[in-house]
């Protein structure tokens, strides 16, 4: 059985004089025990998919199942076996840390003690603050409490909607280490993120944009399918370098990419030393051009360019997702 299955799911929202296509005929499935990532910017349709799968939102068309249960007909069964951490902090701000956790345990007919081993690793970091109201916690602590509350009834499938958005790189790393440990305990995890560098930490990923899936595969296969030579170019004057690389006739695409610019060429057989000569005569010092393996973000940009004009993305206002329930 699949842990999660979507078949031709469509979801639109009414907007002023028009409709926004939030999920555009999407089908995919997640295996049991898999750590599956929905990767994409705001407006990709990630939250709508989460809310359909967690039985909080009805799709316009299509079918969806969680561990074989239909999200419409069997919503009660689904709610018992899933954990959901929404993108927006949704715990009771006026209850303490411990009261929140106890509350979620109670409504699922269990106790903190019964499943403590599952949350121990995360909750231990919160224990010094267990009498503090949830509303007074730091961002990182809130995130840990929300995860603990989503886990306390030992769910079979865990849905995490952008758990690391706005979180600094250190906390993001720690969070993914927690996910790895949860996966090792056999929990299926569906997680979304706008950070492309987190994609490689998933077993499989769906790259999403404007309600559509651009590609779905293991991170390594997606990288392998990039299909072009990719060069990292660096010199002393990076801004000037970017301008000149974009003007260079052989350039197919050139994007700033951290400390390097990433470049693909129109003609794969082109002798790259020609470019080196060209840039050197233009006064670039400490020039390096290296062939490199693409990252998921390179693949994402290539797919975006292949699919459409990147600027035609209407992101639903975050609040809107909650108004049309």
């Amino acid at each position: 059985m699949k842990a999660v299955e979507l078949e031709n799911i469509v979801k639109t929202y009414p907007a002023k004089k028009t409709t926004v296509m939030a999920v555009d005929n999407i089908s995919f499935s997640v295996d049991e025990g898999e750590l599956f990532g929905l990767i994409g910017p705001d407006g990709a349709g990630k939250t709508s998919i989460f809310r359909i799968l967690t039985t909080l939102l009805l799709a316009d068309k299509g079918d969806a199942f969680v561990l074989g249960y239909d999200v419409v007909k069997n919503f009660k069964e689904i709610r018992d076996i899933i954990g959901y951490m929404p993108g927006r902090f949704s715990l009771y701000q006026d209850l303490t840390v411990e009261e929140n956790l106890d509350f979620f345990a109670t409504i699922f007919n269990t106790t903190i003690q019964e499943n403590y081993d599952l949350v121990a690793d995360i909750y231990r970091q919160l224990e010094p603050f267990k009498t503090r109201r949830a509303g007074k916690l730091s961002g990182g602590m809130k995130q840990k409490l929300a995860l603990s509350c989503a886990l306390i009834h030992k769910p079979k499938v865990l849905f995490l909607d952008e758990p690391t958005t706005g979180v600094d790189p250190v906390s993001r790393k720690e969070f993914w280490e927690m996910l790895k440990r949860l996966k090792a305990q056999g929990i299926t995890i569906l997680v979304s993120t706008p950070y492309m560098d987190e994609a490689k930490l998933c077993d499989r990923i769906a790259l999403m944009q404007s309600g559509k899936i651009l590609q779905i595969d293991t991170p390594q296969n997606i990288v392998n399918e990039f299909g072009k030579n990719l060069y990292a170019v660096h010199s002393e004057n990076m801004f000037q370098l970017l301008v000149e690389l974009r003007e260079y006739p052989q350039t197919e695409s050139c994007f700033a990419f951290g400390e390097n610019h990433h470049l693909t060429l129109k003609d794969e057989a082109f002798d790259i030393s020609e470019l080196e000569k060209h840039l050197t005569t233009r006064g670039h010092s400490n020039l390096t051009i290296k062939k490199i393996e693409p990252e998921i973000e390179d693949c994402f940009m290539q797919l975006m360019k292949a699919h459409q004009n990147p600027s035609h993305i209407v992101a639903m206002p975050k609040e809107g997702l909650y108004e049309y329930n």
């Binding site: 907007a15 990182g140 990076m238 400390e259 994402f300 600027s311 035609h312 993305i313 992101a315």
Partner: protein
């Protein structure tokens, strides 16, 4: 080198009771520089930024923003800076043109100036057909680019950008940085916070705040050399890993 200093702080400190949110922060930012203000959640970035833009009074220490004092001249500071954040940037129920007129008015531009600026901006962003549409209907990427253009509408000396590229797709994120480069090239100082460590590489200099203090301040290149790291991500992890406090 004789560089004009536009932000200068000296032991700038903010306490909330016993808690020292920003602890004796001292740094300078130069005209036309892209300055990356990095730190873990809770390191004190927002607190420091609020003092710099004149909306939070320091506990002690000094700072001049565009030559104006953060204690006595907060109104002049506000007139001479631009500000944009990920969370709030434009009024979604106003049209694009109305947003420009509103912000132009707030910054004290004349009707004539607003008209000219409005026209230039809309033309430059290639949004002529969208000028009378509500901002809510614009794609996110356009909204962020528009918000940035409006934040620098009044030709401020400094523009403060608080996580401007959060949630934005990778191509638009890069187009946004093209606009930052252009503004800096035109002499506007850019003070920017981000959680994308690749964007830290695009800054002329970055500071990394940990537990209320500035732990490191240098160009990305020098920082990587000093910490023997391959990327700014590594530098950041090395410095922030020891952080004691959350947000």
């Amino acid at each position: 080198m004789n560089k004009e200093i536009v932000i200068k702080t000296d032991k700038l400190t903010k306490k909330f009771g016993d808690f020292i949110a920003a602890n004796e922060i001292t740094f300078e930012v130069f005209k036309g520089e892209i300055f990356g203000f990095l730190g873990a959640n809770g390191a004190g970035k927002t607190t420091a930024m609020k003092m710099l833009i004149g909306i939070s009074k320091p506990s002690y220490g000094n700072a001049q923003i565009g030559g104006f004092d953060v204690y006595k001249q907060t109104e002049q500071i506000k007139k001479n800076i631009g500000y944009m954040s990920q969370k709030f940037s434009l009024y979604e129920d106003l049209t694009l043109k109305e947003n420009i007129r509103l912000f132009g008015g707030i910054y004290g531009l004349s009707d004539k100036q607003i008209e000219t600026k409005s026209y230039d901006l809309i033309k430059k962003l290639n949004l002529i057909e969208e000028a009378d549409k509500l901002v809510v209907s614009l794609p996110l990427g356009w909204k962020q680019k528009l918000a940035f253009s409006i934040a620098i509408l009044h030709d401020p000396k400094i523009v403060f950008l608080d996580e401007p590229t959060g949630g934005v797709d990778p191509i638009t994120r890069r187009q946004f940085w093209d606009m930052i480069y252009e503004a800096a090239h035109n002499g506007i100082t850019v003070f920017v916070t981000t959680h994308y460590m690749d964007e830290a590489e695009y800054c002329d200099r970055v500071s990394i705040m940990v537990d209320g203090v500035i732990k490191a301040l240098d160009s990305p290149k020098n920082m990587k050399e000093q910490y023997n790291a391959k990327s700014m991500d590594e530098v950041f992890l090395m410095l922030a890993r020891g952080a004691q406090r959350g947000e």
